[in-house]
Each structure stands twice: as C-alpha cells, then as structure tokens.
Symmetry: D4
Subunit: 251 residues, 8 copies
C-alpha cells in the first residue's frame, strides 16, 4: 500500500467517482483477501519481490492444497516448504508441472525462470546431514531467480575440504553456510570471502548440541564480521535473504 495507490484513490474520490465511505474502505481493502482462516496477502509480491510461500508445517493436507490452488492462479512460482509426499500426491493432480524435492521436503511450481541475480549464490554445508536444510535454501534461491553453487560436506575438522573451494566461494555474491554441531564453518568461510555470509544453524548433533543451540550460539558469536544468522534449520529464510542480497540493482 504505497503513496501512489493512496493518491489514486484520493483523486477518484475528489472527482466524486467514489463516496467518502468507499474511499476509506478501498484503502483498507487494497492489499489482502480474507478467506476465513487465512488472509491471502496479494500485496506481498509488491512488497518483497516474491509471491506467497506456503509454510506447510502445521497445516492439514486440505488446507495446504486449497491455499496452493488460490496462490497458483496468480503467481508463476510457488513454494510449499516443510511438506510431504502425500501433499505432493494431491498437488500433482491439480498442477501437473509441480515438482517434489525429497531432500528439502519442498513442493515447487517453477514457471518463470527469469534470472534476477547479479552474481551467484554459494550454499555450503559442514556435513552430509546438513544437506536437507541447505537444499531448502538452494531451491528457494533458484526459484527466486538465482544461480546457485552447492558445496556439500566441507566441515572444519578437515580444513583442506573448504580451502580447496576457496575460489568458488570468493566468486560468489553472497554465501549461505549451513552447519550443525559446533557451527564453526561460517566463521571460517567468513574469513575467506569479502561478501555477506548468511549462517544457518541446524539441529544436527547430539548431547550438548541441544537441538541446534550450540551451533546457533557459535554463529552469533562468530569472530568474522560479515556473518548474520537465521533461525535453526531455517534454510528458506537464508535462501530468501540471500536472494534479496543478490538481486540486480534496477529494482
């Protein structure tokens, strides 16, 4: 809801095209559609550069499919995150070009593949078990118009693994680093590159990893100044922020 839209309504009102009450109502209703248990947010694309993403967790299969259908009518690209194969079974019935990504637990509708990024996004994991979260980040970034470089299993216990990828890392516009356990990899990567690093702690680990808290604290306390952090296992948020960072400047 920007100033331009308000001025449009004001002008229509000034020219007596709409009543005072209507003008007030129009301002209210510009931006979303209330469908009872959810308010579908048609203004978000304008505000954030991307259509509605459906967070699958905690929604029933019926709810998820219904919302998907509504959103898919308007948006070329749609993501359902934290979902499962059963939901995909139903989605495929109504939208045959939807894709299922087992690793990331993501359903994707990917119709507009315009490239929007200024450079590349590198996505790195410390271990093999961090790959599902990293794939969530990578798929999100690709769907938002970015080229993505995946570097898996390059944790700090064998430094040569990450050092040998230094040039790939240094050519990226932004790096997403996904790690569990002690969460040390973002600090190491942060010291190797001069671009922003988005760190994603994962709940991988055991004992005193406390479901990702150890990794989260490690990343927040990183001695590399170019590291910022998202929530535990939040690959989607990391891919989203990285995409905005990489967005070409004409926007």
């Amino acid at each position: 809801m920007n100033t331009f839209e308000i001025e449009e309504i004001l002008k229509a009102y000034a020219e007596n095209e709409i009543s005072t009450a209507d003008a007030a109502a129009k301002i209210k209703n510009l931006s979303y559609e209330n469908i009872g248990y959810a308010r579908v947010d048609h203004a978000r694309a304008a505000r954030q550069g991307f259509p509605e993403v459906i967070f699958g967790q905690g929604k029933t299969r019926e709810q998820t499919v219904a919302i998907f259908e509504k959103v898919a009518q308007r948006a070329p690209n749609v993501l359902i995150t934290r979902t499962n194969a059963e939901v995909f079974g139903e989605i495929r019935n109504v939208q045959t070009d939807a894709e299922w990504h087992e690793d990331a637990k993501i359903i994707r509708l990917f119709r507009d593949k315009t490239e929007l990024g200024a450079g590349e996004i590198a996505v790195v994991t410390a271990g093999t078990s961090d790959i599902p979260v990293a794939e969530e980040a990578a798929l999100t970034a690709e769907t938002m118009g970015n080229r993505v470089n995946r570097i898996w299993d390059a944790g700090v216990a064998g430094l040569h693994r990450i050092l040998s990828e230094r040039e790939v890392l240094q050519s990226a516009r932004v790096v997403v680093v996904v790690a569990g356990m002690e969460g040390a990899l973002p600090s190491v990567v942060g010291g190797l590159v001069k671009v922003p690093v988005i760190a994603v702690p994962t709940s991988i680990g055991y004992g005193a990893s406390f479901g990702g808290i150890a990794a989260l604290l490690g990343m927040l306390n990183s001695c590399s100044s170019n590291v910022s952090v998202v929530n535990i296992d939040n690959g989607f948020g990391a891919g989203f922020s990285a995409s905005l960072i990489n967005r070409r400047q004409e926007s």
Copy 2:
C-alpha cells in the same frame, strides 16, 4: 592468499629466483605479521574489503594505541570500537584528524570518503536507548563508503511512527533495525520492505529481557522472511554486513 599469488611464487621458484625452502616460507608468510601478542592481518583488506577494525574492549590503553598506530600507517580508514574517551585522548596526540563519537564509543580515522555503495542504508531504532548501538552500525557503514539514513525511536507500540517512514525505508538497499525489549520492530519493518533486513538485538530492557535474549529470540523467530540477525549489541557487525550487501557490483 589466492591462486594468483601462489602461481607467482611458483614461477619465481621455477626460474630459480628462490629456493625450495624459501618458496614454502613465502607461501606461509604472505599474509600477516606476528608481533608477539597479536598477528596483524595485512591480508584482511584484500579478503573483506575493509582494513583491520580494532575491537577496543578488553585491551589496555597502551595496546589499543600501539595497534592503532601500526594499522593507521597502511589503512586510510580505521575504526576502534567499544573504546573510551581516555583512549581517544592518546590517539589524538598521535593522529590529530581522528574523531571521537561519544554515543557509539567509537574512535574513527576517516580519510578516504569514496562512496562505494549502490544505494542507501537505513538504520532504525525502536527506542531512544537503542541509539548507541545503532550509531555503531551507522558509523561503520559510513566509514565503509555508504550513505546512511537514521530513523530513531520508531517502536511498534506507536505504529504510526514507523509507518510514516515507509517511503524512506522502501528506498533503501538494506535496512538495519536495532531494538531491545521484545524485538518486534524487525518483523514489522521486514514486512514493509523488499530488501534484506539485518536485525540487532540490544541489551536494553529489564526483568525477563535477560540482557537481550528476549529480543534475540524474537528476531530469530521473525515471521518476516527477509530478516537475519547478529549478536546482541553488535552494531558493528550489522553495519559491516549491510555495507557488503550495499557494495557496488564491480568488486
């Protein structure tokens, strides 16, 4: 230490200009200078686009001044963060153009004012007490070549305050949001803009704010997808990451 540098040394070695042992040593010593209690890192500027920043906290006045002098010989712009007026007293003796910023507790040497940013950086605070941390972010960003828009005291208890700044926010390339207490402002700002938001929790608050933990958790759990977070009170890190995000693309 990039491939190019290694190849240079390899060539010199191949042409018998240097011995085998020397070649190995040169590879090791390319990048920093060991001065006993600290290793001054001459490679960091190349790696991260900015000279050494001196973290003042936990260093004696003598140590801080000594390191400053060493760094100021090579770098046009220098920051000492988390320092105090006494240190500044001594710095001014050796470097008359250094500045003291009381709010942010920063000493700055700002000789190269080339603008490097693609757009503007907005820095927002929820309350008046958050200003010191926000100034640390703003000064860091300015010293790294960015134009900064300051928006102070725009917390969510009086929403009209942040809503009235919407256009300023929406014209920024990246927004830094600094908030204590419940840390709700980044979520609100994140919903208003389509650029990355760096959230900085502050230790402002009382009772169950637990020195910033409440704000930190609030920001990590933000329902806005474009928010990433730095450590409590870490204005410097936020300003640093924001600068890298805003960096013009020729780098």
Copy 3:
C-alpha cells in the same frame, strides 16, 4: 466461605441449634466434597463467577466422565478442556446436549446463555496455526456470557491485515491476542487500543522458538503498557481473565 456464612453458623450455634464441635465441623465442610481422588469444589462458583472447569489432560476417560456427571448436576454450563473425541463419545451418551469443538479440543455444556458482559471481547491470532488456542479462549469467554469477535491470521509481517481491523479492536472492552513465533502482535495491538490486552504465547514455531518461550519472552517484554500474559497455549486462562474484565459491574 465468606463472613456471612460464618455468621450464619455462629448464630445457629448461639441459639444452641448446633453443638460446639458441629459448628467447627460445619465451617470446615462448607465448601467442598471429598470424593477420594478429587475434592469437588462447590464454593468455586461463588468465589469466581463460574462453575468447575474440568482440565481433561492427564485424566483417564472414566475419571473425566465421572467428574463431568457430578458437576453437570449442579452447574448449567460446563467446559472440559484439552480433551478428545473419544471422551465426547461417552459424554454424549449421558448428556445429549453437549457439544464437541474439534479445533479447541473442548467439550461444552452450554445451557445458560445469559449475557453477562459489559462490552465485547476481541480474540485475535497472528497466524492460522494459532487458531486452536484462540478458539479455546473464545469458547471459554462465550460460555461465560460474553460476545466474542474473532480476528484470525493478522500477524505483523503484513501490517495492513491488523490495521484494517483497528475499529473492531478499538470497540472491544478487552482484547485477547494469540501468537507464536516472535510474539510481536500483542505489542502492536496494545499500541492501537486503550483497553487491557491479554497475550497468549503459543508453542507454534520452530528452531529457536523453543516451544513458545520466544513468544512468551516477547510478550512479557512488550513495550505496550497494557499487556499482561498467561502461560504458553493457555487459551482457557486468557478467556477466563478476559471474561472477568468484561463482567458487568453489578457483581
């Protein structure tokens, strides 16, 4: 057990209608009935304006049904919270006018629909997943004689959703706000109204939401002065307190 009741017994005793020992016993036994594994509290309605509510969690089906029958003999309106459809199956056998509310996991006997409230109670959720907790609050309030306005899915990431409901909010006598994740909505609503706000953190979220702790801390640290908080997912408590706030003053 109020002064009036004591005085009644004292008078009977003074008139030799009861013995000294009986008088002491009567004072003791005025107020509850000990049925072995539970003390059914007949004085609570007098004390708090509402009959016994049965907390279903952690009770067997047999226990719940037995207590329900006992209570339903005396009280027109009864709630069983945190229960399930199996219990309802048995309840319906003995009480055909009982209702089952799937969302809220509540069984309700609602025979006395006298309106007792001075105004309306608004119940708001940040997201769709918060609805079950909010329904527990709304049903509780309705059963206690209040008109309730439901506003679902109005979280702060899309501010226009809550702003467009401002007038509804501002016409309420008290507002219940239910939110998970960062728990920012009560602060925003608190700033929009001049009535008390009861905030309910929910366990909705992931990663560092820690089962509702992030939302709880956010609400306790709210920068809006009119917010008080109940336990995580405690929709019943919020509806109960809101009902007492809205109670017409003749009581």
Copy 4:
C-alpha cells in the same frame, strides 16, 4: 488516528481546502512530533487513556528533564518511573508541584485527580521487600484516577495474614499481587476472589530465584485461572493494566 480523523481530512481535501500532497502529509503527521532522538507521541492519550509516561532508566538527567517539560505542557498528570532524587532536584526547579516518591523511585505530577475507576484496586505484597515494586503499581493506578487499597507483607508462609484481608480483597474490582521468591501468593489470592488478578514477579530472593525467574514461572503456571502476569518488577505495567480494567464503562 481513527477513521473520523481521516474522513475530516478527506472532506477538507474534497472541498479543495487542501492539496493532494497536503492531504497525504496530514494523514502522516497527525499523531506525533519528531524531536530528533525521540518521537513525542501526542496521540497516545487518545489511544490509551493516559498521557506519555517517561521511563527514566537509561536516560540522562538532561534528557529526562527536557522530555518532562515538553510533556507537562500538554498533560495534567505525568509520571517518571525508575528515576532518582537528582532528577527530582531539577524537576522541582521547573515544576514546583511535582512529587518525589522515594520507595517507588517515581516523580509524579498529579494535577487532575478526577476519579475514573468503577471500583477499587487492591495491591498486595508477599513481603516487605516487595513494597517498592508495589508502590510503583499503586502510584500509577492512583494517578490514573483510581482508589487503591494497599496490603503489605501477607505472604503464604503465614496464611492467616492474607486470609484476614479476604473481605478487602473480595470487594476490589481487580487485584495486583506483587511477590518474589516462589511467587505463590497470586495463586492463593486468585483462589479467594472472583475478579482479575495481575501478578507481578519481583527480583527479590536469592540463590535459585534467578532474579525473579522462579517467581515468574510460578505465576505463569498458577493453578488459579484468573491470573495474568507482567514482566519482573514491572509495577508500572500492572498498575496500568489494572487501571484499564477498573475504568468506568462510559469510555
């Protein structure tokens, strides 16, 4: 900023009294005044029924006095909380009828003593050490137009102390209970009355009280359904919410 105000501006605009740009600006500027490091919120009284309260903690003496002067010009009653005698020394110079409350660390300007409450507010403490927080609540409530009943030192280790005040408690419209250590008093009081109870945990205690966490958790888990909770030591918030609960219904 309510609908009425918007319609007023719309009408002026329709009658060409103001330009399109002016109309948009007016909507923005209705509600607060930006004085650099703070936005003084002239709309808050309309929104919440009370003028700006100045939170003294973390502000310099100069800032506090300056804000006080600005606010005192418009509002009859002003509170500065968490302040000290030095600030009062300066305030008294500019406002001779200001009062200093040592216990509560509050400066108060109390010129409009209209009673606004429907009934009385009882404020109870568990121990003597809880009195400062309780006084903050009591003074806030009195300044907002309420009669207050103070009941000090009535903790649960000597139950007869609180039981003997039962009638006073039962005649209140709302009860504020202030307690540290195990925070058990609100549960007990909540069981004695049929009105809302606002519980305030205090940081009084030692060892595993953890600065009020034990009391806070105790209150959140209260087995009495009419208890809601504010932040540790937040007497002001409790007094504020209690005042809104007690507000006479014509508002």
Copy 5:
C-alpha cells in the same frame, strides 16, 4: 564397612588365622558382590536401614527379574520402582506374594511389617494428577515401617481444602508435599506445621512449567524455612528421607 568389622579382621590376622594378603582382600570384599553388569550391595542395609531398592527404569525385564530374585533371598522387603505390569507378570511367577501397585508403578515384596516409625507421615498432593508420584512416596514409607496419612487434591487455588486438613498435618512427624504447576503447596503447608516438609516437584503442568522446573524452582525458593526438596517426580526419595526422619531413636 565399619570400624568393628575392620577390627575383627585385624584380630584374625594378628592371631595368624589369615595371611597379610587375605586380610587386605577381606577388607575389600566385605561389602558387595560383583555379578558382572552390577555390583549387588549387601552392605547397604547396614548403612542405610533398608535393603537394595531396584530402580526399574532403563533395565530390561530379564535384568530386573534376575536382580529381584537375588535380593529377595536376603531381604524381607523389596521394592521395584518405575517398572510395569509385564515385569510384575514374571515376578509373580517366582514370588507369589509380590504386589503390583498400578498408580505408583511399583512392585513390592512386603514380608516384614514391623513398625519402625516414631509418629505418622503425611503425604499431600496439590492435584489428582500428582497422585502417582505421591503413591510412590507413600508406598516407600509404608514398606520402610511407617504409618502414612494420604491427603489428595488439596491445592492452593481452593485454600479451604488444605486448611481443613490442618490438624492431620499438625499431628504428623514429617510431611511430604507433592505438587506440579507452580509448586506453591509446600510453602503453604510449611507455614502450617512445625515439622520438616519434604517437597516433591512433579512434571505435571504445561507450557512454561517446563516438565517440572517451575515447581522445582518454586519449592527451592520457598519462603517457609522447614522445606527441603528432592528431584522432579522423585517420590521414592521423598518417602525414603521421610522414613529416616520418622525413624524411632533407638537406632
């Protein structure tokens, strides 16, 4: 292994009945029997006044039965705590007079019913859900030779319930109080009696009860000086300590 036993061996050794090496070995082997995966502790009865109690949790059915058989050969009374009906099925085959207590999940062999206590032990619960833990305490105390008074469902939200049991409480030699949620009951009981109170927090509760932490902290911070605390849900420990307190003084 007391001084008397050592002196006995020393004497045998002095009279050349045993060799030097044997004397040293005897001192070592006095007190337990190593059966591979467990060391059965025959000295414990002498040390603590009660035979080995078998903690069933985390042991297989076979292990539990095997240890039971070994212990039952020497001790008249045996308890298996935290076990289940399947284990009882096997125990009953080998020991027909064993009892199964469903509530407490205890198998008991109770052959020596000599009364050893000086007075009575009262065991109190705040709610119905706390009964299993309380039964563990009560059965332990009975098996150790004590008379036990059970008072169930007397929580502080309805104070009259506990007040009416005052005389029973005041006649006990020691009181065990079992409570979940805010854990306030031990403070109230502690204030009513002049004997030691053993408080047992239970994991009953929800939301911010954190599996019993809220109750545990409440009890540790009790404002009643005669309260000490055992681990969450540790009814056995409470019954054990209470039994030792109540032990008649000839020991």
Copy 6:
C-alpha cells in the same frame, strides 16, 4: 490458629461475653500484629517451634534494628541472618548480650540454651570457601537447641578426608552437607550414613558452575536416596530443617 483457640472464642461468644462481630474479628486477629510495612507474626513460634528469624538482606539498618527490638521483647533467642557489622554496631547498643558472627554474617541473641535435640547434627563442607554457608547452618542449629559437629574441608578429590570422619558422621542424627563446584559430597556422605542428609549447594566455583546451579543439579540428582536439598547458599534453611529432624519426640 488451632481448633482449641477457635473453640475458646466460640464459647465466650456463646456465653454472650463477646458480640458476633467481635467473635469474627477475634478469629482474624489472633495471630499477628500489623505494623505497617510488616506483619509481625506472633503465632509462628507456636506453629514452627522457633521465634521470628529476621532476614537482613534487603532491609535498611533502621528497619532491621526496629524489628529486632520488637522481637527481642518476646523471644529469648533471635537470629538476624545476612546482615553486617554496621547493623551489629547498633544492635549492641540496645542489646549488650548480642553476638556477632563474622563468618556467617549472623547476629545472634542466645539467651535460652536448653538442649532440645535427640542426637547430634553433623555439618560438613567440601572446601574452605563453603564455611560461611556452613556456619550459618551450624549457628542456626545451635540456637535452636542442638549440639553440632563441624567437619570442614573434606571434599571428594581427596576421599580419605571424608572417609576418616566416617564414625563421626555415622553417629549423627542428621547430616548437613555444604558444597559448591560439582556438589558431589552429599552423594558420598549419603552413601556412608543411614540418617537424612540435607544438601546445601553454594555459589562457590567458577566458569560453568553458574553461581551454584551445577552444585544444585548435582545434589538434586544424587544417587543416594537419603538426600534432600535446599536453595543455593541457604545455610539457614538447612540448619532449620535439620533442627526439626533432630527435635526430641515429646513435642
């Protein structure tokens, strides 16, 4: 307030010696005296076997002295805990036989030295730094009529130190064990004796001792069944409970 007292009043009332209102008032006022900021609890000695103990922390010097004087008029033995030498300076002026115990920070008036205990109380510390807390326990127990055996600096890193005191420990009626750091000593002592052990965690330690939490958790999880725990540094509570355990049975 026991049944006997109530019956006395009832009889007086029945015989028309007092009015109905007076009878109700008398029941209320039996037990304490309200002196404004504190309710002095004259019934506590009857209830708990000991006069009012004054908790010095968080009270001003004036308040402490005033309460002391009031209490000393009725009670032969008085303790002020957590106080300081300045308070003692004033106390000595009004009560020349008061004693100052520097280690324990206790002021004691000890006029009635009747022995009330059935046996001895052993008080043990793990280290030298735990002595102040242990002295608080020992002085409390002595003042309550017990003989006390002090065993200092017998931590588990040198087991022979505690083993050599086994006989002293085994002859006690109850043992208080005071330990910081890992808090292991109560488990070891608990295994050596067959009487109750009261464990007191202290805030002694550093790093991950977290002000006594490590010791507290260690003690709560003790593998010895006869251990119960009081709050961190709560020597007074341990001495108080131990005294009640040791109390001769005629009470």
Copy 7:
C-alpha cells in the same frame, strides 16, 4: 597435507614434470575424494592416526553401507557408531568378518590388531545403565590398538565399590569415567589416580538431570584437576582421546 608433500610436488614441478596449473591442482587434491554428498577424507589417517569412522546416526542404510564399502577397501579397521542391526545385516553380506556389538550399537571391522598403546586404559561406569556408552568407548579404544580394563557399576553412593578397584585404576595410563545423574564419579576417580581422566556424562537420569546436563556440569566443575570432559553420551570421543593419550611415543 604436510610440508614434505608440498616439497615433493614443487620438485616435480621444478623438473618440468608437471605444469604450473597441475602443480596448483595437485596441492588442492592431495587429500580427499569428492563423491557428491560426501568428501571421503583419505588424509585423516595420516593426520590423526586412525581411518575414517562412520557416524551412523542420521544416515540412511544405503548411505552407510556405501561409505563403509569405500572405506573398507583402504583401511584395515573400520567403526560404524550409532547404527543398528538392520545395517549390520547388509554389512555382513559384503564383509563377512564384520562384528555387531549390540550394547554399543557399533559395527566393527577389526583386521589389524597390532597393539599400539603404552599402557592400559581403564573404562569405569557409575551404573549399569551407563554401560552402552562405556562400551562405545571401550570398543573404540580396543580397535585403535589398546588393552582395556572394564569396571562397571561402581558409583559413589557405595564408595567401597570404587575403592576396591583402586589398584586397577592406579595402574592405568588413562581412565575413562562414564556417569549419569550427578556425575560425581570422575571427581572421585580423579582424586585416586595420577593419570588423565576423560569424563563422559550420560543422558541417564530423570527429572532435573535434563538429559545429561546435570552430569555434564558436575564434570566440568570437578574439583579434581586431572579431569577433562567430552559431550554427553560421546563414548566414541572419549575412547578416541584416551587412545591418543595412551599411544606409544615413537609416533
């Protein structure tokens, strides 16, 4: 990747056996093999004295078997930790001399049984439930060429159990102590020996043991100076570190 290896490549390059680009590539690729979802680390044996250990948790059966086959081609001894009998079923098909250890959930290929240790390693548990973690340590140590002494069920509640093993403990080169609950055993053992002690907290316990946190904190705060700690339940790490400590000095 040591200096020697680099010099070898440098010499080959100097003699024109390899090109400049090849020399750079060779340095990079010396040390691991990238097989997509994992980088198999052939350099680790050289670096740490032991081949790749496969952490089974969080890997599919297929992944585990595939990695096992790859590793078993080069390494004589292989461990799969945190695995299960199903995986073993498949492993046995491809490698008939693999062993399954039910207690420790370990699959082991043990072909090279050369003894590498200077002395013996003692592995001690506090209780029977700690044996699985202890077996993980013991098997790891044995597979790495050490003799291991197992001492099970020697917790501190019956001190004579550990005291009787003093000589075995004192003859070890390093001791691994595995304990849950309060984690006191490492302190006691640490005081009995003059060699390093590796403490392993286990998640055994209940209530306030918090899944091993109590034991972990107890061990970190050990009053014995020779104790260091690994993660909760990390038997493998303890066995690994102990093996390196015991490694004969020719390395």
Copy 8:
C-alpha cells in the same frame, strides 16, 4: 594411601609394635593434616604427581600466605593461581625466589626444574584477550616439568594464521587450545593434529556469548574426535591434564 602402606602398618601391628586402636588410627591419619579451616593434603603429590596447588580466589591474603608457607616447606614447586600482586608482596617477604606472573595472576615457586615430559606441549589462543587463561595453562605445564610452545592470536577468521603454525602443532605431544566467542579453534586444530587436544573456553566475548557458554558448547560439540574440554577459563586444569598426558612413561 596405597596397599603397600596398609601392609606396612599391618606388619607392624602383627609384630605387636602398635596396638589395634593405633593401627586403625594410623590408617586414618596417613594422608593429611587437619589445621582447622583446611586439611593439607600431603598424599596428593603421591597420588597425582604434583604438590598442592593453592587456589587463591576466595581466600584472604592471610590464609593464602599461611597455606603457602606450610606447603613450601615440603614441596619444591608451588603455584598460587587466581591471586594478585598484594598477595605476592607478602609472599616475597617470606620467600624471595617466588615469581609474579601478571598476565596469568599466578605466583610461582619454581625450584625443581627437572624435565618430566616426553615431548612438547603447544598452547594456542584464538585472540589476544585469551592470553591470560593460556598463560595459566602454560605456566602450570612448565612448572610440572614440560617444555611449552606458545602460539598467540591465531583465530579462525584468518585461517592462514593457524595454518602457518601447522608444523609446530604437529610436533607437539598434546595441544591446549584456548578460545572465547564461538570457540571454533579447537575443532580446526583438532583436524590438523593426531594428538589429544584440550580445549579451554574463555569468558571472552559479548552479547550471546553468555560468559563463555557459547564457546563451551562449541567445544563440547566439536566435530574433531580428539578434543576434550575443561571448565570456562580453567587454564590451570588444561595445563595440568596436558602435563599428565605428556608425562614420560617410567612414572
């Protein structure tokens, strides 16, 4: 107290050189001297290979000096840790060859400089602020007869700093790594060497470092298998354990 000593006493007793009571007493008194507030532990050197170390924190100057004098009479090498210059002023008066180490806050008496280690100990810090803790480790190790290699300021944000020291690290028998903030350095070092690594978290850091908890958790969750951890800031414990690891095998 070893078997040999017991047998000696047994023999003397058998030959009637000592009485039965004396034999028992001798066994008790072999090993320490009770001087009231402390038990000086003369057996510790025999048990652990090093004389009594005096932990200065929490002891008065007088106590520290007195204990030092007692210990210095028997032991050639003495350490007082966590002490200050004032204590050293007094120590120097009685022992002129004592040394003061300002960085580590250690007083050392170092008269026996026999080398006892098999190899060298490397001590590494991540930053300059970690040096005091590292010096405590290094001085402890040197005083226990080891050669120590110090490597300061080699944190992971500039990896080349630690990589260039690889050969020094790889030649050590054991490595102590001291780091604050995210505590990532031990993982990196652990991956570079094949010897045990003792990790020491420091309280250096700010915000969510929580006084060293972040570093502690990072180290406990290290992905390098050869890392074990001591308490926050516990340089002494790390130096002590490292010395025992490095001890030559004839001991």
